[in-house]
Symmetry: C2
Subunit: 139 residues, 2 copies
């Protein structure tokens, strides 16, 4: 029932309770959690789970392109199981990450690539600002 988990299986990886817990946690999750948040939330059910396991599993999933790593600031990596093309808004007060529906718009840089012969693999766009909640609190 969990696509993430099924893909891990297909990849020949062992099906451990930890991996299932992390896959279940991420499934349909739009909150862009950090490793620390996942650890904290899984702790009650899996008190022995290590941060290393969280990072290992997330790294594996990212390598298999099942989730994406969002490096929106230097403090922490956020993880996103939504692999569809969309952008992110990052609140620099509370560090929350909000999905931004993406409708084309990002210009192409083919000209830059041709002129310079640098190869662009990925255009990273992030909207930085202050979220609704934090704006309200400040008043």
């Amino acid at each position: 029932m969990n696509k993430l988990f099924d893909r891990l299986k297909e990849g020949g990886l062992k099906l451990t309770p930890q991996r299932l817990a992390i896959a279940d946690y991420l499934k349909g999750n739009t909150s862009h959690p950090t490793a620390a948040k996942i650890y904290e939330d899984l702790k009650p059910q899996y008190p022995s789970m290590s941060m290393a396991t969280i990072y290992n599993t997330l790294s594996t999933m990212a390598e298999m392109e099942l989730i994406q790593e969002l490096r929106l600031h230097k403090e922490q990596i956020h993880y996103d199981p939504d692999m569809s093309h969309h952008l992110h808004f990052f609140c620099r007060h509370c560090h929350s990450v909000i999905d931004v529906p993406h409708k084309e718009g990002i210009p192409d840089f083919k000209e830059f690539e041709k002129k310079t012969t640098n190869r662009i693999d990925h255009v990273s766009v992030a909207l930085i600002g202050v979220c609704k909640k934090c704006l309200q609190k400040k008043q």
Copy 2:
């Protein structure tokens, strides 16, 4: 003769040899150096200069909006005295940063702001890829 330094002066800061050295180093510099690179390059002339001074000075300059801090990856901050609107290409092999002339093109997100009432302060665009030199080396 150095605009950066003059602005520091205007800001009421003391004009120290360290600050002048850093301002001179950055003037017209398009290499997007890190704090460590600046430290290394100034060491011969200023062997007693501390990393703390480099960071303090760069932070002050960034706060005064005389330079920008580029957080293109989690490892290091790159500094750029060019405050004009332009984008950056980042090579994930050698970590070099290359200016990309910007001709409008970045879509506006007014609609997102109105709908969600989150406030966008800044749209960060980074082109991630492999630079010319690194592409050649791999062949």
